[in-house]
């Protein structure tokens, strides 16, 4: 965080506008007559992008040291493992 | 205190038993090495006055050896197991032409359905017998395993057969009996108060006997 202090504050309002615009786009996309898979992928990508914005700017991960970032991302592979493994029940 | 598996009576039982004895030997040897080693060290390096332990931090060579040997051993066991597993339970392992039976587990009994005269399972002329499975010898059979209420587990020790019956799923379990006689079926998954009593029998007939038994049953169902 020491870096964040020495510089001016990031422009939080810009992030806010970015998030709102993405939400509006999401709402628009969700009701488009696209195929289900395309919709799913687009919406998920946008949701993850928004989540990243929150984590990087509002939670300041962008300015944290690597040790803190490791703590933040360590559980994420585990969330994927369980879901993918159980979904193989339907795929094979 | 015996380590011998009970007599087996199905085609793949010998494969499973062989794998069991292989693992028994490998683990037995590892067991003896470690336990004997421990006892030897205990005796040989017990504290004696005026002696100081040797200052040893480790040995990369030794550690590589005792990492590599177990790794190779377990991978070999894994590969051997994988083959047998595929033959017994793989998605496409059920032999073509296996005689189908419906096995429906419920608290606390096994409902076993047989094909009627039309030769199809799941049609109106099927008949159902409680807690009794009759099959012909030397002929692959397949159980269409379903459950009514909770999870049960079809366990036929003599055939080395076990499979959970999962509510909402139909699971095929196949085997081929190699001996004529009566064997026991048990439930291996805790299924409620009557779990212990959820036994049944499987009777293996010769081909002719089986046809005769089937005919009797069909006749009885007609009446």
């Amino acid at each position: 965080m020491s870096e964040g202090q020495s510089h001016a504050h990031p422009n939080y309002w810009a992030v806010w506008v970015y998030l709102l615009v993405l939400t509006v786009v999401e709402l628009g996309v969700a009701f488009l007559p696209w195929s289900k898979q395309v919709l799913l992928l687009t919406l998920l990508a946008m949701a993850i992008w928004k989540a990243l914005l929150v984590a990087l700017f509002f939670m300041h991960l962008k300015w944290e040291g690597n040790r803190m970032r490791i703590f933040a991302i360590a559980p994420l592979p585990l969330t994927v493992i369980i879901v993918l493994a159980v979904l193989t029940e339907y795929v094979w | 205190m015996s380590w011998i598996l009970p007599p087996s009576a199905s085609t793949f039982a010998s494969d499973i038993d062989f794998l069991y004895y292989v693992i028994l030997w490998i683990t037995g040897i590892a067991f003896v090495i470690v336990e004997v080693g421990l006892v030897v060290f205990i005796v040989k390096y017990r504290a004696r006055p005026g002696r100081k332990a040797e200052y040893i931090q480790g040995s990369t060579k030794a550690e590589v050896i005792w990492t590599a040997i177990p790794a190779v051993t377990v991978v070999v066991i894994g590969l051997m197991s994988g083959g047998v597993w595929n033959d017994v339970k793989g998605r496409n392992s059920v032999p073509a032409g296996a005689i189908p039976y419906g096995v429906h587990a419920q608290q606390f009994e096994w409902q076993i359905s047989y094909r009627g005269p039309d030769g199809q399972l799941g049609t109106g002329d099927d008949f159902t017998v409680r807690n009794q499975l009759h099959i012909p010898v030397n002929q692959p059979v397949v159980m269409r395993l379903t459950a009514e209420d909770v999870i049960h587990s079809l366990f036929i020790p003599a055939f080395r057969v076990k499979q959970d019956a999962m509510p909402g799923m139909t699971i095929d379990v196949w085997f081929e009996a190699t001996q004529v006689g009566e064997f026991e079926i048990a439930c291996a998954e805790l299924c409620g108060i009557g779990h212990t009593t959820m036994g049944a029998t499987v009777t293996v007939h010769t081909a002719d006997d089986y046809q005769r038994w089937l005919a009797d049953r069909v006749a009885a169902a007609d009446r």
């Binding site: 504050h9 939400t23 999401e26 009701f31 998920l44 989540a51 509002f58 | -």
Partner: protein
């Protein structure tokens, strides 16, 4: 420094995560929260994948406009939260109080809107166990305009959003406490750990909602 006990010189330590304990602690705790929501969201994905016929299309049962407003509210509260934090970093007590109050109000509004959403849904006949017998939605289902049953849909919808709402409510309660301390002038330019810790939790809850909103309401 507010607390006299803090006037002692810091003890020498091996370098750890290079942040103070409370911040490290909340990040670690958030790791367990990630796994908790993994169980709930994972169950949703698994059940939905296995039984897609129980799901209605977006906006058929759930009211997307209302929850879109709720999403808007939560994003707003996140930005006021982070502005509160930025204010106290500059030592501005007045703006800290202002933004904290705004965050509390918007957070409470989110819970209020969710309560409204739940009561409306229950009123229409959408329950955790599926359709309520004889309700409006059950009639629609009988006419074939909705899935014949939405039992698991209701189960996972209410459990997931309910536990998210519970986390928001807990956050609001904690933030009331932080705001109260802010008004008592406990946070300074040098020591504003409480504001940062509650902020991290609050943004995490926002982040979870962003994921939930997409997969529950839009997909």
């Amino acid at each position: 420094m507010a607390h006299p006990a803090m006037m002692h010189p810091p003890a020498r330590r091996e370098i750890g995560a290079d942040v103070y304990n409370e911040k490290l602690g909340i990040w670690i705790f958030l790791g367990s929260e990630v796994m908790f929501f993994t169980a709930l969201i994972g169950a949703y994905i698994i059940v939905r994948f296995g039984s897609p016929e129980f799901w209605a299309l977006p906006n058929q049962i759930l009211n997307v406009p209302v929850t879109a407003i709720n999403t808007f509210l939560l994003i707003c509260s996140s930005v006021t939260m982070v502005k509160a934090f930025a204010s106290i970093q500059d030592g501005d007590q007045k703006k800290l109080q202002l933004y904290m109050v705004a965050t509390v109000i918007i957070g409470a509004a989110f819970v209020g809107v969710q309560a409204y959403e739940y009561t409306t849904l229950v009123h229409e006949g959408f329950l955790p166990s599926g359709y309520a017998a004889g309700s409006h939605l059950a009639e629609l289902a009988a006419r074939g305009e909705l899935p014949a049953s939405v039992s698991v849909y209701g189960s996972s919808f209410y459990t997931m959003t309910g536990f998210h709402g519970f986390h928001v409510s807990m956050g609001v309660v904690c933030m009331v406490f932080v705001t109260w301390k802010a008004f008592k002038g406990k946070y300074t330019k040098e020591d504003h750990r409480g504001v940062e810790v509650i902020g991290l939790y609050w943004h995490f809850v926002d982040l979870v909602w962003i994921i939930l909103f997409t997969i529950v309401y839009l997909v």
